[in-house]
Every structure is written in structure tokens, then in C-alpha cells.
């Protein structure tokens, strides 16, 4: 636990009290928030998925300094992988698959999560390999192009062989279940009633916590330090004996795994996937979370993801009543306003707080070298 709470680590009792308090808050949270309506718990569950995405993108952009504007492609890959493996789509399209799986395709979460992570990592390497030499803006544009290519393929792969069912998307996706306990139904455990969204929230929360621990451990590992060395100066990193190619590929593939897992969970949670969920704007929103929270700083990234993913829910409940009160009718709907505020926030935060809302503490950077870096 020392790595998670460095300042408290001297006092073991304080650490444990802090952990218990945070855990209690996180466990009770859906019931408190649920008083406002289940839509808020749903937003919490989505916040967890966005934290996963933001943490994954943070590995690529924040740690390794490789600007990726097509990150949502990995989310799409994870989502479609789960959708294909846990829906009647494949068995109804291909008779030979139906013969192989007479009872239909269903997969347990223990299969899905590693598989989603693995396939997304493979895509990460496929994307990463050709763009290893590119830096900065070029990389941004190429990854953006990759993201669009993946979406165009998903959108059009319903002919000649119907794999993705095109723009209609895939429906009837199995919910996640542990043995006989399905997360799609309300469960009664120890006399407490857990609606479906609460169960998903707990599952996503566990995944998020695991992801945070992985990220924190990665950050301080040899690999994490290699990423940061590349981010600061690629040539110097190479001179220090870092294998830039492998380390960059690892950044792409490890970043992608988070996206893949998050996508698979999204697919199970929604029960439906379509190419519309994986447009460029989604990539930009995830990037906004990372940048606004604090590039390369895990608590900042988590904060950014929570703020920006809960924000639309807040808007939905305030914008319409406020406008009806002021003007008598709705002038700007919440979705449009959300995008506009995201855009404005990206501009304003870059201008006034370029390191994000909760930036990484600077240590080991002496003022002289920072001045040089800024001038360059």
C-alpha cells in the first residue's frame, strides 16, 4: 500500500483507516446516489468504465508521451469481441458455428476479460508497429486515422460476410454472470436488495481498483521509468540503453488492454453495441479526461474521468429545468452543451492550467533545466 499513499506510509494504522474509509464510501455510494434515481448509479458505473479508458490512454499519452487520438478503437475492439462471443449473432449467421456450439455462444467473465485484454493488446501492437518512428502531431493524425479505419470497417463489415452487422449493431448480448448469479437481475444478498446497476457498479469498481493498482505499480517499475525517459527525450533514452521500439510497443499494447477490457464490460452492460458508440468524439472525450485531470498523474486522471463522465448526468438534470425556467422552453439541449463545455474546458485549461487540475508533483526537476525545456 506504500506506493498508493506515500505520505501516510509511515503510520500503518492511519493507512488502514484511510483504506477502510475509502472502501466504505465506495461501497455505500450507489445506495446514497441511488436515492436520486438509478440513472445516477448508471452514471457511476460508466464513470468506472471511463476511468479504465482514461488510465489506459494515460499509459500511452501521459507516461510514454505518444499522443493517441484513436484510442476508442481498442474500446470498440473489446466491445465487439464480447458482443460476437456472447450473442446469437454469429451462430445465426454462420451455420457451422451453430453446429459447433449447439447451445449458443456464451462465455464466462473469466474468459472474456483476458481475451478482451489480449485482442486489444494485439491491435495495440498492430497499430504501434508502423508508427514507431512518428512523433507528436504526426502520430496524433495517424492514430486518428486508425481509429476511423476501425470504425469504417465495423460499419461496413456486414457484407459480403456479415461479421459486425454493420450500422445496425449487435443486439441480445449476454449480461455478465457469475455461475448462476446474473448481474442483469436484481439480487438479494444477506437481506439487501441489489438492483442490476449496483451489481455492475461493484464489478466495474473492482476492475477499476485493479487497474489503478496496476498503473501505480507500472509507473514506478523499470518499464514506467523507461516510458517517462522516452517522453522526456527519446534520443537520451536510447543512449541510456532503453530499447525504444519494444518499450513503445509495450506502451501501446498495455494501454490498449485497458480499453479492450472496458469495451467488453461496456458491451455486457449495454446489451447492445453499434459503430455509433466509437466515433472520434469519444476518443477526444477520453483524451480530455486525461489532459484535464493531469497528464501522467494517476489521481488526476481518475479525477478527470469522474468529473467529465458524471458531468453530462448533472447537465441532464439541470440544463433543461433551468432553461425552461428562464426562457420557457429548451434553447440548447444538454448533449450539445456538453460538447461545447468540453471544448471550452480543453481550451481554457490548456491556457491557464496546462498541467491539468491535479498535476503530478514535480520532483527531481531543477528550475534551470525546466527553463531550457520550455525554451526549446
Amino acid at each position: 500500500m506504500r506506493v498508493l499513499l506515500p505520505r501516510l506510509s509511515q503510520n500503518r494504522a492511519a493507512v488502514w483507516i484511510a483504506i477502510v474509509l475509502v472502501a466504505a464510501v465506495l461501497l455505500v455510494l450507489p445506495f446514497v446516489v441511488g436515492l436520486l434515481g438509478n440513472a445516477w448509479v448508471r452514471a457511476l458505473a460508466f464513470a468506472c468504465l471511463y476511468i479504465l479508458l482514461a488510465l489506459g490512454l494515460n499509459i500511452v499519452v501521459g507516461f510514454a508521451g505518444l499522443l493517441d487520438l484513436g484510442y476508442i478503437a481498442f474500446y470498440a475492439v473489446g466491445a465487439y469481441m464480447y458482443a460476437l462471443l456472447a450473442s446469437p449473432h454469429l451462430t445465426s449467421t454462420f451455420p457451422w458455428i451453430a453446429q459447433m456450439f449447439p447451445s449458443g455462444l456464451h462465455n464466462a467473465i473469466w474468459v472474456v476479460i483476458p481475451l478482451g485484454a489480449g485482442i486489444a493488446a494485439l491491435f495495440g501492437i498492430l497499430l504501434g508497429a508502423p508508427v514507431l518512428k512518428l512523433r507528436g502531431d504526426y502520430l496524433a493524425i495517424v492514430t486518428l486515422g486508425f481509429g476511423e479505419i476501425v470504425r469504417i470497417f465495423i460499419n461496413n463489415l456486414n457484407a459480403p460476410v456479415n461479421i459486425t452487422n454493420g450500422p445496425q449493431g449487435i443486439t441480445l448480448i449476454d449480461p455478465i454472470s457469475f455461475g448462476s448469479i446474473s448481474l442483469a437481475k436484481t439480487q438479494h444478498i444477506l437481506g439487501i436488495t441489489f438492483p442490476s446497476v449496483h451489481l455492475y457498479y461493484y464489478l466495474f469498481l473492482v476492475l477499476t481498483l485493479i487497474a489503478i493498482v496496476i498503473c501505480v505499480r507500472l509507473q514506478d517499475s523499470r518499464l514506467g521509468r523507461a516510458w517517462m525517459a522516452i517522453r522526456e527525450d527519446e534520443i537520451a533514452a536510447k543512449a541510456m540503453g532503453i530499447n525504444v521500439r519494444n518499450v513503445k510497443l509495450l506502451a501501446f499494447s498495455l494501454g490498449a488492454t485497458f480499453g479492450g477490457v472496458s469495451g467488453a464490460m461496456f458491451s455486457a452492460f449495454q446489451g447492445f453495441v453499434s459503430p455509433e458508440s466509437f466515433v472520434l468524439n469519444e476518443s477526444i472525450i477520453v483524451l480530455a479526461m486525461v489532459v484535464l485531470g493531469g497528464l501522467g498523474h494517476i489521481p488526476g486522471v481518475v479525477l478527470g474521468a469522474v468529473l467529465l463522465s458524471m458531468f453530462p448526468e448533472l447537465l441532464r438534470h439541470t440544463v433543461v429545468p433551468v432553461q425552461t425556467f428562464l426562457f420557457g422552453h429548451v434553447v440548447i439541449d444538454a448533449e450539445v452543451l456538453r460538447m461545447m463545455l468540453y471544448g471550452l474546458a480543453m481550451v481554457i485549461i490548456m491556457l491557464y492550467r496546462p498541467k491539468g487540475l491535479w498535476p503530478a508533483p514535480e520532483h527531481g526537476v531543477n528550475p534551470a533545466s525546466r527553463a531550457v525545456a520550455q525554451r526549446a
Binding site: G136, A140, G145, V291, M346, V347, L351, P354
Partner: protein, 309 residues
């Protein structure tokens, strides 16, 4: 053969517009090393302003001929785009000129989103019909058909690009622009006002974008709040293909990309035996981009190093 000529002509039309947009990207990139993500949205605003002006004039003076309306639309669109572009430069890019390179890129994306949503609020989220103002009778040319609008697009783009080359190579402002692109600080020591040059570059890029926007809307007969984004992205690809920062490169890249897209869309069905259809058209631009950046990152005509970092 007729398909071939037809697709080449379509490619030239598309390519001319890509070239015009690509010029805006490449000039800004040449001087600031910044991908002006909002450039495509400036184009959108140009096209929509022109559309509104035309509809307004049509309502006020029903008898006006089509070419007057188009010219009036352009004359309204260009100043609006120039002002918009200057405001963007002043507010979002200038304060970040010495910041790390990620920062202006992110503000550029933010500005692009803001303009899109504002355009959506002003003009609505539906596809708007751009009136056919010029004669639509098809012109036969070597077995292929063209319209007056398409011929005008090709001719006008050529004229504008020649004018731009003269501006950059023969005038004082052009020399100042080239000097600033080479080295802003030294150019400043030589008496060039870099802020003025950068503003002028943005203004020229915006006027070209306005022109391209009106052309796009007039050629395809529709305009909407998102129309500039994809052409903008592809035009950036064209700029990279030609060699970013290189003005003839942007023109060549735009034309080539237009041709590749048109021919690709026309023949992909035959080549792949019907497996892939013309809806993969958008993939070509990105596939070309990736290939160029891998094998020749400085572009076809580029002499600069791809990344100065």
C-alpha cells in the same frame, strides 16, 4: 475507359478542393508547427455563411442571377472566416506559442469542438440544401460528363493557387512569410513582425477555406455543421503527402489524394471482386497517410525534416 475519364475528372474536382484546404494547413504548419484542427470547421462556417447570405438575398431580390448570388455568398463568407480564424489564433494559439507541443494541439481540438457546436446551434443539426445556382446541364467531355460548377471549381482553384504562388514568391509579405517559416526569431531580428505574418497566414488560409467550403457545398448541394471536419482531415493528409510546410506540395498532394480517392472508389469493387465497395473510400486517405509517413515522412516534395524536435 469512360469510367476512367469520369473518375479522373471527379478526382480533379475533389482534389482541387483538398488542395485549397491543404494550403491553409501547410502554411500554418510551416510557420507554427501546429496542426490547426479548427481549419475544417472554419470551412464549415464559410459554407454555411455563404448559404445563409444566398438564401437571404434570394428572399430579398428574387430575380438575381445565380452567379451574382454565389459571388455575394463568397464575399460574405471570406471576411467571416478571416475574422473567425484571427480570433482563434489570438485566443487559443498565440498564448501557447512557447508551450509544449501537446498544448496547442489540444486547444486546437477544443476550438474545433466549440465551433462545431456553435455551428450546430446557429444552423441546426440537419443537412441543408445548397441551391443549384449555376446551370446544371451536363457538359460532355471525352465521354464523361461535367457540370458548370465542377469546371469552375477546377479553374478557380488553379487561378487561386497561381495567385498564391505569386504572393508567396514575389511579394514582400511572401518573403516575410518564408523568412518566418525558416526561423521566426531571426526573421524578427530582420524587421519582420512575426505576429503580423502569422495573422496574415491565418487570414489567407481562412479565405482559401471559405472558398473551398462554398465550392464543396455548391458541388454536392448540401451543407451541414459537420461538413468541414472530414475534408479537413483529408486535406491534412494531402498536405502531409505533398510534404508539410511546402506550398506546391500541398497542391500536388491535394490533387493526388482526390484522384486516388475517386479512382479507388470507382474501381475497388472490380478489383476485389465485389468484396469491398465504394463506402471504403474514406479508408484510402488514411491508408495513404500511414504509408507516406512510414516510407517518406518528409512527403513527396518536402525537403524539411519531418519532425524538428
Amino acid at each position: 475507359m469512360e469510367t476512367f475519364i469520369q473518375q479522373v475528372l471527379n478526382g480533379l474536382v475533389l482534389g482541387s478542393m483538398y488542395s485549397l484546404i491543404a494550403l491553409g494547413y501547410t502554411m500554418v504548419y510551416g510557420i507554427l508547427n501546429l496542426i490547426n484542427f479548427a481549419h475544417g470547421d472554419v470551412l464549415t462556417v464559410g459554407a454555411l455563411t455563404a448559404l445563409s447570405t444566398i438564401l437571404l438575398l434570394q428572399g430579398l431580390f428574387p430575380g438575381l442571377p445565380g452567379w451574382v448570388l454565389i459571388c455575394a455568398g463568397l464575399l460574405a463568407a471570406i471576411p467571416v472566416c478571416v475574422v473567425l480564424s484571427l480570433v482563434i489564433e489570438r485566443v487559443a494559439y498565440r498564448p501557447l506559442r512557447n508551450a509544449p507541443r501537446l498544448a496547442p494541439l489540444i486547444t486546437a481540438i477544443g476550438v474545433s469542438i466549440v465551433i462545431q457546436t456553435i455551428a450546430m446551434l446557429v444552423w441546426g443539426r440537419n443537412y441543408l440544401t445548397f441551391p443549384q445556382l449555376l446551370p446544371t446541364a451536363p457538359i460532355e467531355f471525352a465521354g464523361a460528363t461535367l457540370t458548370v460548377t465542377k469546371v469552375l471549381v477546377i479553374l478557380l482553384s488553379a487561378i487561386v493557387m497561381i495567385g498564391l504562388m505569386l504572393l508567396v514568391n514575389r511579394t514582400k509579405l511572401g518573403r516575410a512569410m518564408r523568412a518566418t517559416a525558416e526561423n521566426p526569431r531571426i526573421a524578427g531580428l530582420m524587421g519582420v513582425n512575426p505576429n503580423f505574418v502569422i495573422a496574415a497566414t491565418f487570414a489567407i488560409g481562412a479565405s482559401l477555406a471559405a472558398l473551398a467550403g462554398v465550392m464543396l457545398a455548391a458541388t454536392y448541394g448540401v451543407a451541414h455543421f459537420y461538413m468541414g471536419f472530414l475534408p479537413g482531415l483529408k486535406a491534412f493528409t494531402a498536405a502531409v503527402l505533398g510534404g508539410i510546410g511546402n506550398i506546391p506540395g500541398a497542391m500536388l498532394g491535394g490533387l493526388l489524394l482526390g484522384l486516388i480517392e475517386a479512382l479507388g472508389a470507382g474501381y475497388i469493387g472490380q478489383l476485389t471482386g465485389g468484396v469491398l465497395g465504394s463506402h471504403y473510400q474514406d479508408v484510402f486517405a488514411f491508408a495513404i497517410l500511414v504509408t507516406v509517413l512510414i516510407f517518406r515522412p518528409s512527403g513527396l516534395l518536402g525537403e524539411r525534416v519531418a519532425d524538428r524536435a
